[in-house]
Each structure stands twice: as C-alpha cells, then as structure tokens.
C-alpha cells in the first residue's frame, strides 16, 4: 500500500488528502477547498482591517481636508497640509531631532548590543539569570522608566548629579537644559534597549556553525582577529535584524520623551511623533497631525526597506 501523501513539496499541509477534488479550478471550489484556513484567518484579518487599515485610510483622508473637532464641514484642501508641513520650521526641527536621536541611539545600542550579545553567548553558570536580569529595562513600562529617571536626573537630589560631583565634574540640569535634554533621553534609551539588541544577537550566535571558529583557533588567530574576521561577518545578518527592529521603534520615538519632557524645553526634544501628537491632541489640529503622521509612516517604511535591502546583501 502506498502511503497517501498529504504534505506538499515544501512540507506544507495540503487542504485535503489525495485524491484531489476536481472542483478546485473554480473560485468557489478554491473557497471550499481552503474553507478551514480561511475561517481561521478571517477574524484576525477583519480585526486588522477595521482597527488598523481603516484608521490609516481615514487619517489619509483627514490629511487632505481642513478639519478641526467641532467644525461642521471639512473642505478639501488638497496637499495644503503637506505644503504647510514643509514650510513649518518646527517640523524641520522635529525631523532633525528624530534623525539625531535615531543615529546616536542606534549607534550605541548596536555596539553595546554586540558586546553584550557576545558576553551572553559564553556558557557559564548563571548566564540565563544574568540575561533575564539585564532585560528588565526593556520590559518595564515606559511610564515607570520615565518616573525613575526623572528622580535620577533631578538637579538637586538626583543620583546623576551626585556622581558627576563625586568625579569633580560640573553638575547639570539635564532635562531642563535644551542642550542636554537629547543626551539625557538618549542615555535612557540606550540603557533600556541595548539588552534587547543583545538578546537577538545572542540568539543568532547560538545558531552559528562552530567550524569556522575551530579553524581560526587552529590557525592561531588572536581573539580580536577571530572577532573581526569570523564572528562579526557571520553575525552580520542577525545584527541587521536587530537594527531593523530597533530602527522601526527609534524613528517613532515617543514614549520616554512625552512622559518626561512633553517635547520641551523649547521644543528641544520634540520628535516628529511627539510633534504630531501635540498637533493632533493639544492644538486639536487633527488634519495637520495626520499629515505629519503619514509622513512619519512613509519614513519608517523607507528605512525598513533600506535596512531589509542591506540585510539581503549581508546574507548573500
């Protein structure tokens, strides 16, 4: 007896055991054939369309009209909101702040993430506990993170200034200083998310083949040489995944800033996401807020495409 094959070439489960039904050619036949998977996926798909896709389209509509809550009509204004955006100095300021934070945080998080990732891949007793402990900043609510760092940065009783003073350095006002606030926020983000980068990189380290490392040791390579010529090139794809995930969040930088400074002092920490929230919900200019948001979404997608392309290049 020949065993009936119900898995296809790629191992996917076929909708029905062979012999195949002959009504699969028509649309209704296909629908019947895939009845169960369609039923399984539909609720989640419908939810996503209603809760996510529809709101995005509605925001796109809002960005093309002039409307504020309470007004009766919403006249079509074409691209006026977008033109206003490109003429708005605060928009350019916010774009610059977004990119500055993006670059600084991503740079340090990647370097610290690689260092931590390699440290974590050493099999020593207690490694798992250590890994879970340093992940704590990534899984604590951003509101709590903001609160604890407000205390740490407090100019008069904060620990940050206490350390500066003990090292004989000038004390700072941190969040209240327009020149310092971005650095203060970046420190928190690096502290919060480097361990998360490390988690992904360690996962990638575990999956690496051991042969290249053994060969390098036999050839008498130094640790630095092994890191530079073996570990790093092999890790490049997984590092790109970590960078992609972090980038998507960093371009939308919002939580910590809105909690700690609301974009201040003097807009010095207003990222695009914070600016659009302020436009939409503080100034109630939802049309303009939507326009900035859609620009931000386009920016996120552009960055993901670039990084995905770089990743494909790294894999091949």
């Amino acid at each position: 007896m020949t065993r009936m094959s119900i898995t296809g070439k790629d191992g996917a489960l076929q909708p029905h055991p062979s012999p195949p039904m002959n009504d699969t050619e028509t649309f209704w036949g296909l629908l019947k054939k895939f009845r169960v998977p369609i039923m399984m996926v539909s609720p989640a798909a419908i939810f996503t369309v209603i809760m996510i896709l529809f709101p995005i389209l509605y925001s796109a509509y809002l960005s093309l009209v002039k409307w504020t809550p309470g007004s009766e009509d919403a006249p079509f204004v074409g691209l006026a909101n977008y033109i206003r955006m490109f003429q708005d100095p605060t928009f350019w300021l916010a774009l610059g702040i977004t990119l500055k934070l993006f670059l600084v945080c991503l740079f340090f998080e990647t370097i610290i993430g690689i260092y931590l990732g390699i440290l974590l891949s050493r099999e020593v007793p207690g490694q798992k506990i250590f890994q879970a402990l340093i992940l704590l900043p990534s899984i604590i609510a951003s509101v709590a993170i903001g609160m604890m760092w407000i205390l740490i940065y407090d100019p008069t009783l904060g620990v940050a200034n206490y350390f500066l003073k003990s090292f004989g350095l000038k004390q700072l006002v941190w969040l209240a200083d327009p020149d310092m606030v971005l650095a203060a926020i970046a420190i928190i983000d690096i502290w919060e998310w480097s361990p998360f980068m490390a988690l992904i990189i360690t996962g990638g380290m575990r999956a690496l083949p051991t042969d290249p490392f053994e060969a390098a040791v036999i050839d008498g390579a130094s640790r630095w040489q092994i890191f530079k010529y073996v570990t790093l090139p092999l890790l490049r794809p997984v590092i790109m995944v970590a960078i992609l995930l972090r980038s998507v969040d960093l371009i939308r930088f919002f939580d910590t800033i809105y909690i700690m400074t609301k974009g201040g002092p003097n807009d010095a920490s207003t990222t695009l996401n914070v600016y659009s929230y302020l436009q939409g919900f503080s100034y109630m200019d939802m049309s303009y807020g939507s326009a900035i948001m859609l620009f931000l979404l386009a920016l996120v997608m552009l960055f993901s495409l670039i990084i995905s392309a770089l990743r494909r290049k790294a894999v091949s």
Binding site: V36, A44, M51, F130, I139, M147, Y162, L245, F254, V300
Partner: protein, 273 residues
C-alpha cells in the same frame, strides 16, 4: 574556559548588573523611603524602610480601582488576541500563508497616533468615553492591536515546531481540521500559549498612549494615572516611586520567576516579528 576567563566574565556581569538594574533598584528603594530620606543629599543607601508611600497611594487615590482597570484592559486584550490570533497563527503556519502574517505587522510599523486620531473621533462621536462599559470595550479593542501581532508571530513559531506527522495520521483517520486543531495542535502548543499570554499581558499592561486619550476617570489604567502624577509636578517623590514600582510589578515578577520563558518568548517574538 580557563579560570581567568570565568573571573573576567563574572566581573563584567557584576558591573553590568549595577548599570542595568541599578536604576530599577533605586526606584524600589526610594519607594520605601520616608519623605525625609528621599530628599536627603547626598543620596543615602541605608535607611529605615517604610510602606507609608504605598498606603498613602491607596488612601488618597482609588488606586485599587486603577490596578483593576489595568487588569481588565491587559487581560481582556490578551484574551481577545488569543481568540483571534491562535487559529490564525495555526492556519498561517500549516498552510504557509506568511504573507498574511506580514499584513498584521503594519501595526508595528505605523505610529500609534495614526490609529488614535480616527479612534478618538469615533469614540467622541458615539460618546463612548462617557459610558464605562463601552469605554472598557474600546480600550480592550485598541490594546488588542498591540497583542494580536505579538501572539500571531509567537504562535507561528510554536506551531512550526510541532511535528506534522501526528496531524497527518489524524487526517487520514478522517479527523476534521477543526478537531485536529483543538485536540492535537492546541494541547501541544500550550507552552507557546503560556509565553504568549505572559508577554502580551505585560506589553498591554505597559502601553499607555491609547488609554491616555481614550480612558475616562473611572476606566483609567495605572499607566495613565501615573502619567498624570508626573504632570502635577513631582513633589511627592515617595508616592511617585511607589506608583512606578507597582506598575513595574508584572515585569519584575516575570524576570524573577520565569527567566527561560522570558528569553525564549522575546527571542521568538523579536526575530520573527
């Protein structure tokens, strides 16, 4: 490894723990300080601990109410995410429908305010925020936008790990698809469901942007009331730190008691998602 390597590794562990856990410990310590100790300069490490900050919170504010609200919203959105996400993840894993899974990732790419503006408009048009029951439903639905993609991606990786043979023979025996899903796949994927429940509960518990604009005074979760505390001007540091500690409790418990689960879940969720 040589002995020197062990010592070096643990030395780095020690310094890194101080750096990464230090601020969290400082928050917990400060929440146990009296007002006098918390404003002491230079900052002090040793003091007479007190729970006054916590009891004050519950005395002055309906703090238990906020905790219950957080549970309702995080629990409800986790449950909804499971109901919608687990069957979807199963179908995606078994029928190789990964393009559909990417569709749910829009919510991880798009800034939250983009959905929030239309949601807010609908909520105010239908006067949802005035009605507590409807407001809870609204908050649960919006938070499911956070939990659903997380659960789908986690569960896909768990379903893909389950060997397909068992399901094949059940299919030959004439078992229906739904029965296979409920009686074979689901019981085998229980560890994955446990990870999904815990992580999506925490992510939903932590999220504050949607509730910030959509919640009213009696449906407000912990994160929003804590955010309002900050806005009122930080004079009561002890109370502020006690509130922050209570918000962090789910994360702290997970780190202390379920390390392996946390690492496995976050890795699967991150690399896949």
């Amino acid at each position: 490894m040589r002995k020197k390597d062990y010592i070096l590794t643990y030395l780095q562990y020690f310094i890194l723990i101080l750096l990464f856990i230090g601020p969290v410990l400082w928050m917990i310590l400060s929440s146990l300080k009296s007002n006098l100790d918390i404003t002491a300069y230079p900052p002090i490490l040793f003091f007479q601990p007190t729970f006054n900050n916590y009891t004050e919170l519950f005395k002055i504010y309906p703090f238990a109410k906020y905790i219950i609200n957080s549970f309702i919203i995080a629990g409800g959105s986790t449950l909804l995410g499971l109901i919608l996400g687990v069957p979807a993840a199963y179908a995606i894993a078994r029928y190789r429908l990964h393009s559909i899974a990417f569709f749910t990732l829009i919510s991880r790419m798009a800034p939250g305010v983009l959905f929030l503006i239309p949601w807010y408009l609908i909520a105010s048009k239908l006067e949802i925020t005035g009605n507590n029951f409807l407001d809870y439903i609204m908050l649960i639905l919006t938070h499911a936008v956070i939990t659903l993609p997380l659960i789908i991606w986690l569960m896909i990786s768990y379903f893909e790990e389950i060997p397909i043979d068992l399901e094949e023979s059940a299919l030959i025996d004439g078992c229906g698809r739904w029965r296979i899903f409920f009686q074979i796949a689901l019981p085998l994927s229980l560890p994955g469901i446990a990870v999904s429940v815990i992580l999506s509960f925490i992510f939903s518990w932590n999220y504050f942007l949607f509730a910030l604009t959509l919640a009213n005074n009696s449906t407000m979760p912990l994160t929003v009331i804590a955010f309002n505390f900050i806005g009122e001007g930080a004079t009561n540091w002890g109370g502020l730190m006690a509130a922050a500690t209570i918000i962090s409790l789910p994360a702290l418990l997970l780190t202390l008691f379920a390390q392996r689960l946390l690492i496995k879940g976050l890795t699967a969720g991150a690399v896949k998602g």
